[in-house]
Symmetry: C2
Subunit: 451 residues, 2 copies
C-alpha cells in the first residue's frame, strides 16, 4: 500500500468523512485494509472496523494482529461478535482464539451458535502444530454419483464461504474420503460425466492424518505442488483441509524455528517485538549456561599446559584465531548438512559421501588458510621471527579445519539417527566441541615441536 | 510413495512386463513417477520414460533431476524432443535449459517450433532470480467484454495446457493488464454478468515487474495469499504469471540462501551432493580467510598483555569460555533480528526498542551466567582459591554478554541501512568482533583489580 494513499485515508478519517472512507476501503484489498487498521489507535480502529462492509469485515479481522482483534472484540456487541465469528473461516477463528486471553475466548464461545462452538472446541483440542490444529472444515464435498453439471451447481449453491472451491472431496456414506476432484477437472470434463469416473483415487489421492505434524504436511504439499491437502482421522474419515496459504505460513514458521534452534534458542512462535524480556531470557539462557559450563573443559586443557604457556607466551596469541576458524569451518559444514536434511536433499545413507567430501573440502581450505596464516604471522611479527611457532600454528590450523568440518557434517546426521533435531547441531554447539579438540591438537603439536 | 509399491514396479520392470508397468504408472502421481525414475539407471530410465502416456510424460520430465533430463534428451529422437519441449510449461522448459550443457540447449532449441524457440530465448535473457526468469506465459487471458458464460467457454476451449485456470487476466488492446478475475468469481457470478463488471481492478490488482527480484515476488504472494501473480513489463503489458508452486520453491531457496549467508558461505542454488569439492571450497574460503586475518587483532591484544599473562597464567584458562559465551550471545540476538527483518516483523524504525530490549536481556542473562560461573570456578578450583580472578571473570562475562547482544542486534539493522544483506551480520562475523572487545574488557578489568 502506498504511503500517500494511506495519508489520504487518514485525512478522510480526521475529517470524519466516513462515507468516502467506507467507499475507498471497500475498493481496497483486505490485507491492505488490515495493514491500515494496524496503524490506528484503539478508538479509531474500532470505529473504522465497524464501517467496513459486512462481506469483508471478517476477512479483514483475520489479518489483524491479535491485540487489535482483542480490542475489536472488546468493543462490539454480543450480536455483532456472534456474526463476526460465524463469518470467519474456522481455521482463522481457531488461530485467533489460540492467541487471546481466556476471558475473550469465553465471551466469543458464548456468543456463537451451538454448531460453531462445538467445532471450535473440537479444533482447539488438537495438539499444537498438528494438522488438526491448522485445518479448516469449510471444504466442498461432492457425491461420487453427481455429474459434472450437478457438481458445479452444487458448488454454486454451497461453495460461498468455503475456504477453497478449487479442490473438492468425495466421501462415502461413512464420510470416508474416496477421491478428490479439482474444479479444473470439472471445467474440462463433459457436463454429463460422472464424478466417480473423473475423480482421483488410490495412488493419486494424497492426504494427511489429523495428528501429523505440520512440517510433514508442508513437505507433502511442497513435494506434490498441492493447493490444498485433505485431512482424515484414524478411520480415514474426512475431517478438514489445509490450504496452500496456511502451508506457506507453516513453511516460514518451520524455517524460523530452524534459525532459532541453530542459534541455540528455544523456538518461539511469537514475533520478536511482542515477546517480553523475561521470555527472551528464558528462551536463550539454558543453552548459554550449558555451553558456558562445557567451556570448563577448554579451561582445564589450558590449565594443563599452563607450564608451557608460561614459558612461551607467544602461543596464547593464536588461540582465538584457531578457535574461531575451527568454529567457523564447522558452522559452514553443519549449516549445509542441516539444511540439506531439512529439504530432503541429503539422506542418512549419504553420510559416507558427505564425510569424504567435507574432509576433502577441509583439507583444501585448511591448506589455503595455513599458507595465508604463515604469511600473516611472518609479516606482522617484529624483528625476531619465530618460524617454528608459525609452522606449529599453521599445522594446527589444517587439523582444526579438517576436524571441524568432519564434526560439523557428522553431528547433524548423528542427531537424525537418534531422532533428535539436526538443527540443534549447529554453530554454537560445534564451536564448543571443536574448541576443546583444537586446543589439544595445538598444544600437542607445540609440545612435540617447540619444547 | 511406499517402498513395496516401488519394489512391485521394479519387479514388473525386471520381468519386462511393460504393459502392466505402464498401467500402474499411469495411475500414479507424476511426482511419484519422477521419484521412481530417479532411482533407475540410465538405460532403464529412458525405456520407462518412453512408455509413459503422452499426456503425463512432459509433466514427469519437469520433476526429474537435470542429469536424468539430459539422459532422456540424449536418447530420444529429434521429433520426440520437439513434442516433449512443446508439451512442457514454458517456465519448466526454461528451468531445464538453464541447468543443462550448452550442446543440449542447442539441440533442444533446434527441434522446437519457431514460436516456442523465440519465447524460450526471450525468457532465458531475464536476469537470474528476476520475476521474468521464473514466470510462464501460459495463462488464461479474457476479454473484459466477455460474459461469464463466454469466459467459461473460452477457458474450456483454450485452458488445457495452461499453468493455471484459477486466475484469469483481462488485457486491453495494447496488452496492458486491466484486471484479474478468478475462476471462483466466474462460478459464483451470474452467467450473463460481464467480466468488466466483476473483475478486480485498481487497488485490488496486484502485479510485479519482470525485473523485480524473486524475493519481492514471494513477499507479495505471502502477504496477499495469492495463488498466482501477474508479471508486467515496463509498459504495464502482461507478459506472464508466476504460480504458487514456484513461489513455494522461491521461499525455500531464499531461506537456504539466508542459512548459507549466516554461516558466511557464498550462497549457491545447487544441491549439496551435486556440488563439487572445488565449488564448495570456493564458496567457503573467502570468509574463512577474512575472519582468520581479522583474528590478527585478537592476537595483538593478547600480545599486548603478554606480561600480565606471564605473571598470571590462570587468566588464560577463561579466555575460550568468555569468547564463546560472547559469540553465542551475539549469535542469538543477530539471528532473531535477521529473521525478523527478513519476515518484515522488525523495521528499521524499531531499532531503539530492539536495542533497549537486547541490553535488558543481556543484563539478565549476564548476571545469571556470572553467578553460575563464579560457582563453577569456585567448585573446580583446587585448594588454593583465587577469588579475585573469579570475580574479574564473572564481571567480564556480564560485560561480554551485554555488549555482544547490543552488537548482535545492531549490525543487521546497520547493514540494512547501508543496503547490505542483514544475513551477513550473523554469528561468525559477530563472534570475531565480540572476541576482540571481550578480551579488551577482560584484560582491562584484570589489570585494574588484580595487578
Amino acid at each position: 500500500m502506498e504511503k500517500d494513499y494511506c495519508e489520504n485515508l487518514l485525512n478522510l478519517l480526521a475529517q470524519g468523512d466516513f462515507s468516502n472512507l467506507k467507499r475507498q476501503l471497500s475498493e481496497m484489498n483486505v490485507v491492505d485494509i488490515a495493514e491500515f487498521l494496524g496503524t490506528l489507535e484503539k478508538g479509531q480502529l474500532v470505529r473504522v472496523f465497524r464501517i467496513l462492509p459486512k462481506d469483508i469485515s471478517a476477512s479483514v479481522f483475520s489479518y489483524l494482529e491479535s491485540e487489535d482483534q482483542v480490542d475489536i472484540v472488546g468493543s462490539i456487541t454480543d450480536n455483532e461478535l456472534g456474526s463476526l465469528v460465524g463469518e470467519l473461516f474456522l481455521d482463522d477463528a481457531v488461530d485467533f482464539l489460540e492467541e487471546v486471553p481466556a476471558n475473550v475466548v469465553t465471551r466469543v464461545l458464548a456468543n456463537t451458535d451451538h454448531k460453531t462452538r462445538q467445532m471450535i472446541n473440537t479444533f482447539l483440542k488438537y495438539p499444537e502444530n498438528s494438522a488438526g490444529s491448522i485445518m479448516t472444515n469449510e471444504m466442498v464435498e461432492l457425491h461420487d454419483r453427481f455429474t459434472v453439471a450437478q457438481a458445479i451447481a452444487h458448488i454454486r449453491s454451497t461453495g460461498v464461504g468455503k475456504e477453497t472451491i478449487y479442490s473438492c472431496y468425495c466421501i462415502d456414506n461413512g464420510r470416508r474420503l474416496i477421491g478428490t476432484v479439482s474444479l479444473s477437472d470439472l471445467i474440462f470434463n463433459n457436463e454429463g460425466a460422472f464424478i466417480r469416473d473423473i475423480m482421483h483415487e488410490d495412488e493419486k489421492m494424497i492426504c494427511v492424518n489429523t495428528m501429523d505434524d505440520q512440517e510433514a504436511v508442508a513437505d507433502i504439499a511442497k513435494k506434490y505442488d498441492l493447493l490444498s491437502i485433505p485431512v482424515v482421522d484414524n478411520e480415514k474419515r474426512l475431517v478438514g483441509i489445509i490450504t496452500i496459504d496456511d502451508i506457506v505460513d507453516i513453511i516460514e514458521e518451520e524455517n524460523t524455528e530452524d534459525f532459532e534452534k541453530m542459534a541455540l534458542m528455544h523456538p518461539s512462535d511469537d514475533e520478536y517485538l511482542k515477546t517480553g524480556v523475561f521470555t527472551l531470557v528464558k528462551n536463550r539462557i539454558v543453552w548459554l549456561l550449558v555451553l558456558m559450563v562445557s567451556a570448563t573443559f577448554t579451561g582445564k586443557i589450558i590449565d594443563n599446559f599452563e607450564g608451557m604457556l608460561a614459558v612461551m607466551v607467544g602461543l596464547t596469541a593464536s588461540i582465538p584465531m584457531l578457535m574461531d576458524t575451527g568454529g567457523n569451518s564447522g558452522s559452514q559444514s553443519s549449516t549445509l548438512i542441516i539444511r540439506g536434511l531439512a529439504l530432503g536433499e541429503i539422506q542418512m545413507k549419504d553420510y559416507p559421501k558427505v564425510l569424504i567430501k567435507e574432509i576433502q573440502v577441509g583439507m583444501l581450505c585448511g591448506i589455503i588458510l595455513a599458507v595465508v596464516n604463515f604469511g600473516r604471522m611472518y609479516l606482522i611479527a617484529g624483528p625476531e621471527k619465530n618460524i617454528p611457532i608459525y609452522i606449529v600454528t599453521s599445522l594446527s590450523l589444517i587439523c582444526a579445519v579438517v576436524l571441524s568440518k568432519a564434526i560439523g557434517c557428522s553431528l547433524p546426521i548423528i542427531a537424525k539417527v537418534f531422532k533428535l533435531d539436526p538443527a540443534l547441531m549447529a554453530g554454537p554447539l560445534i564451536t564448543t566441541i571443536v574448541d576443546a579438540l583444537v586446543l589439544i591438537i595445538y598444544f600437542a603439536l607445540a609440545k612435540t615441536f617447540l619444547m
